[in-house]
């Protein structure tokens, strides 16, 4: 079997397992308990924790089923020489948060330094920032469940088939659709237009997936991606809220606004995509030499 055929076979098996092992319990829990009861309330934390490990389980099972072995499992920390990428993983979501905060202020409010310093005294800002940076990376083991599957396996199998740009787009969409049983019930984007919510989730996953893919490729490890994902899930972007000023309290955002507010992340994602493509071109040139 050619390498591409083998990759395709493994990818299909992985996706079936990843979706099956997650969607079946998620849909069942949605029916049995109701989405907000099992997912949002925190009453069934163990179910939320375990069900998020579907993609990681799929990675393990696919490797076993196809006798692939554990070469390039991306489970090494690879700290040596890669600390800068770990640092990027830590701060990138906060940088996106700062850009989002400025975007909200300049679109819906007005720059008022007096209000900013009144709403966000230095101690409060420091407490939030330090607290988030100290605690969020520790929860990277939760996001490992996703990253070990998507970045640690899917991207590797997809890139030879679809190329880097294709992997970023199709991989991001698959990752976004994987969230659908939750998104359709109101996760992140409310219940008004659930299918638009799924599309927004796909866009969100494409843009953040690019940065996560860049981190994984640069370090050869899934752990920086786990840290960045954890920073995203556990308040890494909240630092930007301190820069919001002059926004009326009655302001209600529509899904179109949500799309517009995704702009900083999309821009940052595009920058990393360009970086990734440049590095790939450079590698090709060096290989030819």
């Amino acid at each position: 079997m050619s390498s591409k055929k083998a990759d395709l076979k493994r990818l299909v098996i992985f996706l079936l397992l990843a979706f099956g092992s997650t969607w079946i319990p998620w849909i069942a829990f949605n029916i049995i308990f109701g989405y907000s009861e099992w997912f949002e309330s925190g009453h069934y934390g163990l179910l939320v924790l375990l069900s998020g490990f579907g993609p990681a389980l799929a990675n393990v099972l696919t490797r076993k089923l196809t006798n692939e072995g554990w070469e390039d499992s991306k489970l090494h920390l690879n700290l040596k020489g890669n600390l800068k990428y770990y640092l990027v993983a830590l701060v990138i979501m906060s940088a996106v948060g700062v850009l989002s905060g400025l975007q909200i202020t300049f679109t819906y409010g007005s720059w008022d330094f007096a209000e900013i310093s009144e709403n966000a005294p230095l101690t409060a800002v420091l407490n939030t920032v330090l607290g988030t940076f100290a605690s969020a990376p520790l929860f990277a083991f939760i996001t490992f469940g996703e990253e070990f599957g998507w970045r640690g396996y899917m991207n590797d199998k997809m890139e030879p088939l679809l190329g880097t740009v294709g992997t970023c787009i199709v991989g991001g969409m698959i990752w976004g659709v994987w969230h659908a049983p939750l998104t359709l019930c109101g996760h992140n984007y409310g219940t008004e237009q659930p299918f638009v919510g799924v599309l927004l989730m796909c866009l969100n996953c494409i843009s953040s997936g690019i940065i996560l893919m860049w981190l994984t490729k640069k370090t050869g490890s899934v752990f920086p991606a786990c840290i960045m994902h954890s920073m995203n899930n556990n308040g890494g972007t909240l630092v930007g809220n301190f820069l919001v000023s002059g926004v009326p309290e009655t302001l209600e955002t529509t899904l179109l606004d949500e799309l517009y507010l995704m702009l900083p992340q999309v821009v940052v994602g595009a920058v990393f995509l360009i970086l990734m493509l440049r590095e790939k071109r450079l590698e090709k040139t060096l290989a030819l030499c």
């Binding site: 009453h43 934390g45 163990l46 605690s135 520790l138």
Partner: protein, 246 residues
């Protein structure tokens, strides 16, 4: 490096397993205590879920203390002259060996934290399924303990490496006893009132800005101290080897 890591994992597999067990025990022992109550076990369990955070915090603290003791024991067996000379002759040398020791100790704290989180999720889910009650989350305290443990190991490990486990542990005990005596003396002379005020603020959750900032900064101090401790241990290792008993 892989070989050294494999050796550490193989040699300390019992401690790694016990760390995971300590995490589960720290969360679930209070539940076991409730069901040891022969008169009204369910009522005790309800009480634990609704108002038992102090008891749960004590067990969590005990769990971290137990893991801390095991972390010190991971140095046992490697404090011999022969091993030190063999290590120095390795391609990765002293720094590689000390690095794996520090990584192992960090991993043990990590396993404890992950174990506590997972066990706490199980505890919360069980509590809601059985008694329809929400338990107070204690993970923020576990995170603080994780960093405090890192800070303590940052101080302890260079002593264990410089003087060996036996002498190093004795030095640790002497330092602890001295600290306790000093603390008692200062308390008797009324010089620790400020400390008790701070402690009171910490427990009641009504912290002033300076205290909350100090607590937020503590993790970064701990991580910095741990990295610095590794550098110091690398420098001390061969000097210490001269004093190892065997």
């Amino acid at each position: 490096m892989k070989g050294l890591l494999y050796k550490e994992c193989k040699q300390n597999r019992l401690y790694l397993l016990l760390t995971a067990a300590a995490a589960v025990a720290a969360i679930f022992l209070p539940v076991a205590l409730c069901f040891a109550d022969e008169v009204e076990p369910m009522e005790s369990y309800r009480l634990l879920l609704s108002e038992g955070e102090t008891l749960r915090l004590i067990f969590l603290l005990l769990g971290f203390v137990a893991v801390g003791m095991m972390q010190g024991l991971t140095m046992m067996g490697d404090d011999t002259k022969k091993w030190a000379l063999f290590t120095a002759s390795n391609p990765k040398g002293v720094s590689g060996f000390v690095y794996t020791k520090y990584l192992l100790v960090f991993a043990m704290s990590g396993i404890m934290l992950i174990g506590c989180y997972s066990a706490e999720q199980a505890f919360t889910t069980l509590g809601y399924c059985v008694a329809k009650l929400d338990a107070m989350p204690i993970m923020s305290f576990a995170i603080l303990l994780f960093y405090a443990q890192l800070l303590l190991r940052a101080v302890e490990l260079p002593f264990l490496i410089r003087f060996g486990v036996k002498t190093g542990s004795m030095i640790k005990v002497i330092m602890l006893v001295a600290a306790v005596i000093l603390f008692i003396l200062l308390t008797l002379f009324g010089l620790m009132n400020g400390f008790f005020l701070v402690l009171n603020e910490l427990i009641s959750g009504q912290m002033n800005d300076a205290l909350s900032l100090a607590i937020s900064a503590m993790p970064f101090v701990a991580v910095g101290a741990y990295c610095l401790s590794y550098r110091i241990s690398c420098k001390l290792y061969l000097k210490g080897a001269e004093y190892y008993v065997k």
